[in-house]
Symmetry: C2
DNA sequence: GTTATTGCAAACAATTTGCACCCAC
DNA sequence: GTGGGTGCAAATTGTTTGCAATAAC
């Protein structure tokens, strides 16, 4: 997995990700990795500020950087915000469109498909999202009463 | 599954969706169904205004209504907006995180899984999203030059 | 007449940007 | 010293809401 031959050339510089992250960027990435669930930029910022001094814009800018480097995964929250999580997590959800409640699924049936796509297209694939949407039993009742 | 006994009561009233849509709601739904690809609320509004008189707020409100009735499908655009499409479309994409370019995939390997989940959980599942993210070959080059 | 729908403009919220300052190399 | 990284506040963008006018039944 690791290039063993010539790692001498200055600081390590793997073919993929331009290497080092700044201090604050590392802070953001660490903070993100501590989250059990996908989290919005705003909430992550509030979380980080408990321990560090960091600006909201930096959090946004860093998440953008990490995104392009394939280090974070993004999905959309029910109220339209973006939710970020470690790209390591291969988690999938069953989400209620009305109340936002999410159930975690354990199956991930698309790993093989992803590898196959990777071979077929000239794309560097970082991750995939798979999510099911509908109404939970409670909201289904509510909706038929008050279609709001 | 369906209450068969007394379906006589007034206009048809299937167990699921509270029935009729208003005129404008119908306009939105029709307009949406004419789109070949997922579209944002703003663009849909611009599209509709070419032929009808309709307010932006109505478009948003209608899309929300249609969402709860399981008639539209939502996914997040690369710049953070919501993209809407007919729930009929079982399309999946391979999307570049940098330029937003999307390739349409033909395979959908999760139909069976969805039916299985539907049996397992007390959720009414309307649709699923499955999307792959990464960098297209061009953006991959660009990124290694200018990590911006 | 009563109730839901609509349009407009104002309000909101998430995100991005301009700019001056700071830090690492 | 130079270039990227950072914080703050202002600007932008997508979306929601209040309310009076309108349409549906």
């Amino acid at each position: 997995m690791q290039r063993n031959s010539v790692a001498k050339k200055s600081h390590s510089c793997p073919p993929q990700a331009p290497p080092r992250l700044s201090r604050q960027q590392q802070t953001v990435l660490n903070g993100l990795n501590q989250q059990p669930h996908p989290i919005s930029a705003q909430r992550l910022h509030r979380f980080l500020k408990q321990q560090h001094s960091i600006g909201l814009a930096t959090v946004y800018r860093t998440l953008e950087t990490l995104k392009l480097r394939g280090l974070v995964q993004i999905r959309a929250g029910v109220q339209g915000e973006s939710l970020y999580s470690s790209v390591e997590q291969d988690r999938h959800y069953l989400t209620c469109l009305r109340c936002g409640q999410s159930l975690v699924l354990d199956a991930c049936p698309v790993g093989e498909l992803q590898r196959q796509l990777q071979r077929t297209f000239p794309f560097k694939i970082y991750y995939h999202t798979l999510e099911f949407f509908g109404l939970c039993s409670l909201c289904k009742l509510q909706t038929s009463k008050n279609p709001s």
